[in-house]
Symmetry: D2
Subunit: 105 residues, 4 copies
Amino acid sequence: MPDLPATPTLADFQSYVSEMERERGFASQTVKDKCLLLGEEIGELFKAIRKAEGLAMDPQSQVGEIGDELADVFIYLCALANRFDLNLEQAFLDKETKNKQRKWQ
Amino acid sequence: MPDLPATPTLADFQSYVSEMERERGFASQTVKDKCLLLGEEIGELFKAIRKAEGLAMDPQSQVGEIGDELADVFIYLCALANRFDLNLEQAFLDKETKNKQRKWQ
Amino acid sequence: MPDLPATPTLADFQSYVSEMERERGFASQTVKDKCLLLGEEIGELFKAIRKAEGLAMDPQSQVGEIGDELADVFIYLCALANRFDLNLEQAFLDKETKNKQRKWQ
Amino acid sequence: MPDLPATPTLADFQSYVSEMERERGFASQTVKDKCLLLGEEIGELFKAIRKAEGLAMDPQSQVGEIGDELADVFIYLCALANRFDLNLEQAFLDKETKNKQRKWQ
């Protein structure tokens, strides 16, 4: 099973996800498959948040924990970044450089 | 402006996002606002991936870089985790403990 | 319970959804609530499609029928159109007028 | 160019979309492609709603009209229903039969 160091960086998480996918047979899933899965997890995250926000729920439907759903979304982010050979940390730094120039009204 | 240490952990990113939101006036945005924004960024990520995958595009529409869109989704993940006082690293470890028990067919 | 005429138009569906929401206590849900719900249903649609496409599934997780999920997404489209006093049929005609001018490469 | 009758039903819209896709070269797009496009349009719908809801916007980014984005989401619903030989009207009736039995708390 893949391991994470004590204070893992984004690169450590990306390597973990890469190895995890090989072990669980997900490595062959395409970029489009991962987008489908990511969209699914976003829906599950919204559902967990809906429950936390006190919106009406069908008591019979499965609702995950917000932490679990955030983690699943993060896993698919790493999986997509890996498929495009992107370093999430560098992508964050680059986007923040752009975001600092932007104005919001 | 917030700073990131040399080898930032997920907790460092969450603190950075928290400070960044205060500086740019986003701290008052609600959980539902952040879900709307997250859904928007997922759409932009899908669009950037669509272009990379060679699907037909309207040459006049704005298309972001995949790295930028992954970074934006990650920022909103941190923003949502912060609003629920969740540690993303711990959420990842907890979910992986569950995922290791699961079967996929 | 609301009814639909024999050959319902989009306007008939929008009226049905409006009445249905009143009866089930959803009329007070805000636009942002409906977006959260729409995002959730998109995730469930993706999950049903994932299963149909033969992607690996956790046999223990609930998976809906594609028709059911398409219907739920359509219901939320009507609910959002109603909240902005938009006629979906007119919106369709207007957008197709624009789409006919567009080029895709 | 495809046409719609005076008071089009959901089946009329599905036929229109089917013919429109052939004319514009989209008929070969797969189910997963359509999910990617649907996710993209949901993001654009959320962005248009964000603007209408008065949330901070980057004045330089493209924002569509809510009616246009609702129409685009509806088009992709029809395109997905067509690819699974599903009649949206029947799917709506079937799901409402189920929804009437459900409780929300």
